[in-house]
Protein backbone atom coordinates (compact mmCIF):
# COMPACT_ATOMS: atom_id res chain seq x y z
CA UNK A 1 0.00 0.00 0.00
CA UNK A 2 1.31 3.47 -0.83
CA UNK A 3 1.91 6.14 1.80
CA UNK A 4 -1.10 8.10 0.54
CA UNK A 5 -3.29 5.02 0.76
CA UNK A 6 -2.07 4.39 4.28
CA UNK A 7 -2.81 7.96 5.31
CA UNK A 8 -6.33 7.86 3.83
CA UNK A 9 -7.04 4.51 5.50
CA UNK A 10 -5.57 5.79 8.77
CA UNK A 11 -7.67 8.96 8.73
CA UNK A 12 -10.87 7.00 8.04
CA UNK A 13 -10.03 4.45 10.73
CA UNK A 14 -9.18 7.18 13.23
CA UNK A 15 -12.40 9.08 12.53
CA UNK A 16 -14.53 5.95 12.94
CA UNK A 17 -12.69 4.97 16.13
CA UNK A 18 -12.92 8.47 17.60
CA UNK A 19 -16.61 8.65 16.70
CA UNK A 20 -17.27 5.31 18.37
CA UNK A 21 -15.44 6.43 21.52
CA UNK A 22 -17.35 9.71 21.66
CA UNK A 23 -20.61 7.81 21.19
CA UNK A 24 -19.78 5.46 24.07
CA UNK A 25 -18.85 8.37 26.33
CA UNK A 26 -22.06 10.24 25.46
CA UNK A 27 -24.24 7.16 26.06
CA UNK A 28 -22.57 6.43 29.41
CA UNK A 29 -23.17 2.68 29.50
CA UNK A 30 -23.27 1.22 32.99
CA UNK A 31 -22.06 -2.31 32.19
CA UNK A 32 -19.37 -3.79 29.99
CA UNK A 33 -21.94 -5.47 27.73
CA UNK A 34 -23.66 -2.12 27.23
CA UNK A 35 -20.33 -0.51 26.40
CA UNK A 36 -19.56 -3.28 23.92
CA UNK A 37 -23.02 -2.94 22.40
CA UNK A 38 -22.61 0.83 22.05
CA UNK A 39 -19.28 0.33 20.27
CA UNK A 40 -20.65 -2.29 17.91
CA UNK A 41 -23.77 -0.26 17.19
CA UNK A 42 -21.54 2.72 16.37
CA UNK A 43 -20.14 0.75 13.46
CA UNK A 44 -23.51 -0.76 12.59
CA UNK A 45 -22.59 -4.27 13.74
CA UNK A 46 -25.01 -4.62 16.64
CA UNK A 47 -27.80 -7.19 16.26
CA UNK A 48 -30.51 -8.21 18.71
CA UNK A 49 -31.33 -11.84 19.45
CA UNK A 50 -34.48 -12.17 17.36
CA UNK A 51 -35.49 -15.47 18.97
CA UNK A 52 -35.43 -14.00 22.49
CA UNK A 53 -37.27 -10.93 21.25
CA UNK A 54 -40.06 -13.08 19.83
CA UNK A 55 -40.22 -14.98 23.11
CA UNK A 56 -40.50 -11.62 24.91
CA UNK A 57 -43.35 -10.61 22.62
CA UNK A 58 -45.17 -13.85 23.45
CA UNK A 59 -44.88 -13.14 27.17
CA UNK A 60 -45.90 -9.54 26.61
CA UNK A 61 -49.09 -10.58 24.81
CA UNK A 62 -49.90 -12.99 27.63
CA UNK A 63 -49.56 -10.10 30.13
CA UNK A 64 -46.51 -11.76 31.75
CA UNK A 65 -44.58 -8.54 31.89
CA UNK A 66 -41.72 -9.54 34.19
CA UNK A 67 -40.92 -12.51 31.97
CA UNK A 68 -41.29 -10.32 28.90
CA UNK A 69 -38.80 -7.76 30.20
CA UNK A 70 -36.38 -10.55 31.08
CA UNK A 71 -36.57 -11.92 27.54
CA UNK A 72 -36.22 -8.41 26.08
CA UNK A 73 -33.13 -7.87 28.23
CA UNK A 74 -31.62 -11.06 26.82
CA UNK A 75 -32.55 -10.04 23.29
CA UNK A 76 -30.96 -6.60 23.65
CA UNK A 77 -28.32 -6.89 26.41
CA UNK A 78 -26.65 -3.61 25.47
CA UNK A 79 -30.01 -1.77 25.36
CA UNK A 80 -29.21 -0.38 21.94
CA UNK A 81 -32.34 -1.27 19.99
CA UNK A 82 -35.09 1.38 20.12
CA UNK A 83 -37.92 -1.03 19.29
CA UNK A 84 -36.96 -3.52 22.00
CA UNK A 85 -36.63 -0.68 24.49
CA UNK A 86 -40.03 0.62 23.37
CA UNK A 87 -41.54 -2.74 24.28
CA UNK A 88 -39.69 -2.72 27.61
CA UNK A 89 -41.26 0.66 28.33
CA UNK A 90 -44.65 -0.61 27.23
CA UNK A 91 -44.31 -3.63 29.53
CA UNK A 92 -43.74 -1.25 32.45
CA UNK A 93 -46.78 0.79 31.38
CA UNK A 94 -49.13 -2.17 31.19
CA UNK A 95 -47.87 -3.66 34.44
CA UNK A 96 -48.17 -0.34 36.25
CA UNK A 97 -51.50 0.68 34.73
CA UNK A 98 -54.60 0.55 36.94
CA UNK A 99 -58.14 1.77 36.62
CA UNK A 100 -57.97 3.60 39.93
CA UNK A 101 -54.31 4.57 40.07
CA UNK A 102 -51.06 3.79 38.32
CA UNK A 103 -47.89 2.49 39.93
CA UNK A 104 -45.49 5.44 39.98
CA UNK A 105 -42.39 3.27 40.42
CA UNK A 106 -43.16 1.16 37.36
CA UNK A 107 -44.18 4.21 35.35
CA UNK A 108 -40.91 5.94 36.24
CA UNK A 109 -38.89 2.91 35.10
CA UNK A 110 -40.98 2.78 31.94
CA UNK A 111 -40.36 6.44 31.25
CA UNK A 112 -36.62 5.87 31.70
CA UNK A 113 -36.72 3.00 29.20
CA UNK A 114 -38.70 5.11 26.76
CA UNK A 115 -36.29 8.02 27.11
CA UNK A 116 -33.44 5.63 26.40
CA UNK A 117 -35.29 4.29 23.36
CA UNK A 118 -35.95 7.77 22.01
CA UNK A 119 -32.29 8.71 22.40
CA UNK A 120 -31.39 5.68 20.31
CA UNK A 121 -33.99 6.25 17.63
CA UNK A 122 -33.15 8.42 14.63
CA UNK A 123 -35.06 11.68 15.03
CA UNK A 124 -36.07 10.73 18.55
CA UNK A 125 -39.28 9.05 17.47
CA UNK A 126 -40.36 5.42 17.23
CA UNK A 127 -43.34 3.89 15.46
CA UNK A 128 -44.26 0.26 16.08
CA UNK A 129 -46.94 -1.28 13.86
CA UNK A 130 -48.34 -3.83 16.28
CA UNK A 131 -52.11 -4.37 16.38
CA UNK A 132 -51.80 -5.48 19.98
CA UNK A 133 -50.72 -1.98 21.06
CA UNK A 134 -53.08 0.94 21.63
CA UNK A 135 -50.19 3.41 21.66
CA UNK A 136 -47.92 2.89 18.68
CA UNK A 137 -45.61 5.86 18.79
CA UNK A 138 -43.06 7.05 21.31
CA UNK A 139 -44.91 10.35 21.67
CA UNK A 140 -48.19 8.65 22.64
CA UNK A 141 -46.42 6.38 25.09
CA UNK A 142 -44.54 9.28 26.65
CA UNK A 143 -47.76 11.29 27.06
CA UNK A 144 -49.42 8.31 28.76
CA UNK A 145 -46.52 7.97 31.20
CA UNK A 146 -46.59 11.67 31.98
CA UNK A 147 -50.36 11.63 32.52
CA UNK A 148 -49.94 8.69 34.88
CA UNK A 149 -47.21 10.41 36.85
CA UNK A 150 -49.00 13.74 37.12
CA UNK A 151 -51.47 14.39 39.94
CA UNK A 152 -54.45 16.43 38.76
CA UNK A 153 -58.14 16.91 39.43
CA UNK A 154 -59.19 14.64 36.57
CA UNK A 155 -57.61 11.73 38.46
CA UNK A 156 -60.75 11.77 40.65
CA UNK A 157 -63.14 11.56 37.72
CA UNK A 158 -65.22 8.37 38.19
CA UNK A 159 -65.28 7.93 34.43
CA UNK A 160 -61.65 6.85 34.68
CA UNK A 161 -62.91 3.51 35.93
CA UNK A 162 -64.41 2.86 32.50
CA UNK A 163 -61.27 3.63 30.47
CA UNK A 164 -59.51 0.93 28.54
CA UNK A 165 -56.00 -0.27 29.17
CA UNK A 166 -53.55 1.22 26.66
Amino acid sequence: MTATGLRIAGLCLTLVYAGALVRVYVRQPSTLSEAGGTLTSAVGAYRIDRERFDAGLQYFRQDRFVEARDAFAQADPARQDPVVQFYVAYAFLRQGWGRVYSDDALYTQGLEALTRARQLAPGGTIRVDDDNLALRTAEELQAEFERGLTRELSDFNPARLMRERP
Partner: protein, 240 residues
Amino acid sequence: MTGFQDRRDVPAVPEPQADLVPGEIYRRPAGPVALPAGREAITLPLLLLTVAGLGGVRVAATGTIALVPPSLVALVLAVFLIAALVRSGALEPSRLVGDWRTPLENASGVTVLLALLVATAQVFTLLTPASGLFAFVFTAFFALLLWNTLAADPDRPRLLRSLAVVLGGAFLLKFVVLAALYDPDGGVLRRVLLALIDGATLGGAPAPDGPVTGYLAFATLGLYFVGLVLLPARRRSWQR
Protein backbone atom coordinates in the same frame (compact mmCIF):
# COMPACT_ATOMS: atom_id res chain seq x y z
CA MET B 1 24.60 32.76 18.78
CA THR B 2 28.21 32.90 19.87
CA GLY B 3 29.35 29.58 18.66
CA PHE B 4 27.18 27.79 21.19
CA GLN B 5 25.15 24.97 19.80
CA ASP B 6 22.37 23.20 21.58
CA ARG B 7 23.36 19.57 21.94
CA ARG B 8 19.82 18.53 21.06
CA ASP B 9 20.03 20.19 17.65
CA VAL B 10 23.22 18.42 16.60
CA PRO B 11 23.40 14.82 17.73
CA ALA B 12 26.88 13.74 18.77
CA VAL B 13 26.57 10.65 16.63
CA PRO B 14 24.62 10.63 13.38
CA GLU B 15 21.65 8.31 13.25
CA PRO B 16 22.63 5.02 11.65
CA GLN B 17 21.48 5.01 8.05
CA ALA B 18 22.18 2.56 5.31
CA ASP B 19 23.69 5.03 2.89
CA LEU B 20 26.26 6.58 5.26
CA VAL B 21 29.81 6.17 4.03
CA PRO B 22 32.67 6.33 6.55
CA GLY B 23 35.01 9.24 5.97
CA GLU B 24 32.44 11.35 4.13
CA ILE B 25 31.27 14.69 5.45
CA TYR B 26 27.56 14.99 6.05
CA ARG B 27 25.41 18.04 6.54
CA ARG B 28 21.92 18.54 7.82
CA PRO B 29 19.25 19.45 5.25
CA ALA B 30 16.90 22.32 5.98
CA GLY B 31 13.75 20.22 6.09
CA PRO B 32 12.64 17.90 8.89
CA VAL B 33 12.33 14.16 8.38
CA ALA B 34 8.89 12.67 7.87
CA LEU B 35 7.63 9.85 10.07
CA PRO B 36 6.86 6.48 8.49
CA ALA B 37 3.31 6.81 7.13
CA GLY B 38 2.00 3.76 8.98
CA ARG B 39 3.19 5.01 12.35
CA GLU B 40 1.87 8.51 11.77
CA ALA B 41 -1.48 7.65 10.20
CA ILE B 42 -2.42 4.44 11.99
CA THR B 43 -0.29 3.40 14.96
CA LEU B 44 -0.03 6.70 16.81
CA PRO B 45 -3.65 7.92 16.41
CA LEU B 46 -5.15 4.55 17.31
CA LEU B 47 -2.78 4.06 20.23
CA LEU B 48 -3.42 7.52 21.64
CA LEU B 49 -7.18 7.25 21.13
CA THR B 50 -7.11 3.92 22.96
CA VAL B 51 -5.35 5.68 25.83
CA ALA B 52 -8.00 8.42 25.71
CA GLY B 53 -10.79 5.86 25.77
CA LEU B 54 -9.35 3.66 28.51
CA GLY B 55 -8.26 6.64 30.60
CA GLY B 56 -11.83 7.55 31.43
CA VAL B 57 -13.07 4.08 32.38
CA ARG B 58 -13.86 3.60 36.06
CA VAL B 59 -15.03 0.17 37.11
CA ALA B 60 -16.65 0.11 40.54
CA ALA B 61 -16.25 -2.83 42.92
CA THR B 62 -19.84 -3.78 42.03
CA GLY B 63 -18.90 -4.14 38.36
CA THR B 64 -20.75 -1.09 37.08
CA ILE B 65 -18.72 1.20 34.89
CA ALA B 66 -18.60 4.95 34.47
CA LEU B 67 -16.92 6.88 31.69
CA VAL B 68 -15.29 10.13 32.76
CA PRO B 69 -14.48 12.74 30.09
CA PRO B 70 -11.34 14.87 30.48
CA SER B 71 -11.74 17.70 32.96
CA LEU B 72 -10.87 21.29 32.05
CA VAL B 73 -7.90 21.37 34.39
CA ALA B 74 -6.63 18.12 32.86
CA LEU B 75 -6.75 19.73 29.43
CA VAL B 76 -4.69 22.65 30.76
CA LEU B 77 -2.16 20.27 32.29
CA ALA B 78 -2.05 18.38 28.99
CA VAL B 79 -1.13 21.59 27.17
CA PHE B 80 1.69 22.14 29.71
CA LEU B 81 2.96 18.62 29.18
CA ILE B 82 2.86 18.91 25.40
CA ALA B 83 4.79 22.18 25.69
CA ALA B 84 7.39 20.34 27.75
CA LEU B 85 7.53 17.56 25.14
CA VAL B 86 8.11 20.12 22.40
CA ARG B 87 10.81 22.00 24.33
CA SER B 88 12.65 18.83 25.18
CA GLY B 89 12.61 17.60 21.61
CA ALA B 90 10.48 14.57 22.46
CA LEU B 91 7.91 15.99 20.05
CA GLU B 92 8.79 17.90 16.93
CA PRO B 93 5.54 19.39 15.60
CA SER B 94 7.16 20.40 12.31
CA ARG B 95 7.55 16.71 11.49
CA LEU B 96 3.76 16.41 11.69
CA VAL B 97 2.46 19.71 10.34
CA GLY B 98 4.11 22.21 8.02
CA ASP B 99 4.24 23.90 4.64
CA TRP B 100 6.46 21.18 3.28
CA ARG B 101 3.70 18.59 3.70
CA THR B 102 0.64 17.91 1.56
CA PRO B 103 -2.84 18.68 2.98
CA LEU B 104 -3.45 14.96 3.54
CA GLU B 105 -0.17 14.63 5.45
CA ASN B 106 -1.04 17.72 7.50
CA ALA B 107 -4.47 16.29 8.31
CA SER B 108 -2.77 13.11 9.46
CA GLY B 109 -0.33 15.11 11.61
CA VAL B 110 -3.08 17.22 13.17
CA THR B 111 -4.91 14.00 14.04
CA VAL B 112 -1.85 12.79 15.93
CA LEU B 113 -1.55 16.08 17.82
CA LEU B 114 -5.25 16.13 18.76
CA ALA B 115 -5.13 12.50 19.85
CA LEU B 116 -2.05 13.29 21.94
CA LEU B 117 -3.86 16.20 23.62
CA VAL B 118 -6.92 14.13 24.51
CA ALA B 119 -4.84 11.13 25.61
CA THR B 120 -2.65 13.30 27.83
CA ALA B 121 -5.68 14.99 29.37
CA GLN B 122 -7.26 11.62 30.05
CA VAL B 123 -4.06 10.38 31.71
CA PHE B 124 -4.18 13.36 34.09
CA THR B 125 -7.90 12.77 34.71
CA LEU B 126 -7.12 9.13 35.44
CA LEU B 127 -4.37 9.88 37.91
CA THR B 128 -6.17 12.68 39.75
CA PRO B 129 -8.75 11.84 42.42
CA ALA B 130 -12.23 12.79 41.29
CA SER B 131 -12.96 15.38 43.94
CA GLY B 132 -12.07 16.81 47.32
CA LEU B 133 -8.85 18.16 48.72
CA PHE B 134 -6.83 15.34 47.17
CA ALA B 135 -7.93 16.44 43.70
CA PHE B 136 -6.55 19.91 44.41
CA VAL B 137 -3.32 18.51 45.88
CA PHE B 138 -2.71 16.18 42.92
CA THR B 139 -3.46 18.93 40.40
CA ALA B 140 -1.15 21.38 42.16
CA PHE B 141 1.51 18.66 42.30
CA PHE B 142 1.25 18.06 38.56
CA ALA B 143 1.20 21.77 37.72
CA LEU B 144 4.27 22.52 39.83
CA LEU B 145 6.22 19.56 38.48
CA LEU B 146 5.40 20.44 34.88
CA TRP B 147 6.31 24.07 35.49
CA ASN B 148 9.58 22.93 36.99
CA THR B 149 10.17 20.63 34.02
CA LEU B 150 9.56 23.48 31.59
CA ALA B 151 12.02 25.67 33.52
CA ALA B 152 14.67 22.92 33.73
CA ASP B 153 14.46 22.42 29.96
CA PRO B 154 15.52 18.75 29.95
CA ASP B 155 16.36 16.77 26.84
CA ARG B 156 14.16 13.96 25.55
CA PRO B 157 15.49 11.02 27.59
CA ARG B 158 15.48 13.05 30.80
CA LEU B 159 11.95 14.32 30.18
CA LEU B 160 10.65 10.81 29.53
CA ARG B 161 12.35 9.52 32.69
CA SER B 162 10.96 12.46 34.66
CA LEU B 163 7.45 11.78 33.34
CA ALA B 164 7.76 8.11 34.24
CA VAL B 165 8.58 9.13 37.81
CA VAL B 166 5.84 11.78 38.07
CA LEU B 167 3.03 9.77 36.47
CA GLY B 168 4.19 6.49 38.01
CA GLY B 169 4.33 8.13 41.44
CA ALA B 170 0.83 9.50 41.04
CA PHE B 171 -0.37 6.07 39.95
CA LEU B 172 1.15 4.46 43.04
CA LEU B 173 -0.34 7.11 45.32
CA LYS B 174 -3.82 6.85 43.90
CA PHE B 175 -4.17 3.18 43.02
CA VAL B 176 -1.92 1.54 45.58
CA VAL B 177 -1.61 3.75 48.67
CA LEU B 178 -5.11 5.28 48.69
CA ALA B 179 -6.69 1.98 47.56
CA ALA B 180 -4.93 0.15 50.39
CA LEU B 181 -6.23 2.69 52.89
CA TYR B 182 -9.77 2.08 51.73
CA ASP B 183 -9.39 -1.70 51.71
CA PRO B 184 -12.33 -3.01 53.83
CA ASP B 185 -10.18 -5.93 55.06
CA GLY B 186 -7.51 -3.65 56.51
CA GLY B 187 -6.59 -3.54 60.19
CA VAL B 188 -6.51 -0.96 62.98
CA LEU B 189 -3.56 0.96 61.54
CA ARG B 190 -5.44 1.42 58.28
CA ARG B 191 -8.51 2.74 60.13
CA VAL B 192 -6.37 5.17 62.14
CA LEU B 193 -4.66 6.44 58.97
CA LEU B 194 -7.99 6.76 57.20
CA ALA B 195 -9.43 8.73 60.12
CA LEU B 196 -6.39 11.02 60.03
CA ILE B 197 -6.72 11.54 56.29
CA ASP B 198 -10.43 12.17 56.57
CA GLY B 199 -9.74 14.69 59.31
CA ALA B 200 -6.95 16.38 57.37
CA THR B 201 -9.04 16.60 54.21
CA LEU B 202 -12.23 17.60 56.07
CA GLY B 203 -13.80 14.31 55.02
CA GLY B 204 -12.96 15.04 51.41
CA ALA B 205 -10.95 11.92 50.62
CA PRO B 206 -12.80 10.22 47.75
CA ALA B 207 -13.24 6.47 47.89
CA PRO B 208 -11.11 4.87 45.16
CA ASP B 209 -12.56 2.87 42.29
CA GLY B 210 -12.53 -0.93 42.17
CA PRO B 211 -9.33 -2.90 41.59
CA VAL B 212 -10.13 -3.39 37.91
CA THR B 213 -9.69 0.35 37.42
CA GLY B 214 -6.16 0.07 38.80
CA TYR B 215 -5.21 -2.64 36.30
CA LEU B 216 -6.78 -0.65 33.48
CA ALA B 217 -4.90 2.46 34.63
CA PHE B 218 -1.64 0.52 34.62
CA ALA B 219 -2.25 -0.68 31.06
CA THR B 220 -3.30 2.82 30.01
CA LEU B 221 -0.14 4.38 31.42
CA GLY B 222 1.97 1.72 29.70
CA LEU B 223 0.31 2.42 26.35
CA TYR B 224 0.71 6.15 26.88
CA PHE B 225 4.45 5.80 27.37
CA VAL B 226 4.69 3.65 24.25
CA GLY B 227 2.91 6.48 22.45
CA LEU B 228 5.34 9.07 23.85
CA VAL B 229 8.31 7.01 22.67
CA LEU B 230 6.80 6.68 19.19
CA LEU B 231 6.18 10.43 18.84
CA PRO B 232 8.30 12.17 16.20
CA ALA B 233 11.30 13.47 18.13
CA ARG B 234 13.57 16.33 17.11
CA ARG B 235 15.79 14.75 14.51
CA ARG B 236 17.10 15.56 11.09
CA SER B 237 18.50 13.35 8.41
CA TRP B 238 22.10 13.63 7.31
CA GLN B 239 23.14 14.24 3.75
CA ARG B 240 26.50 14.09 2.02
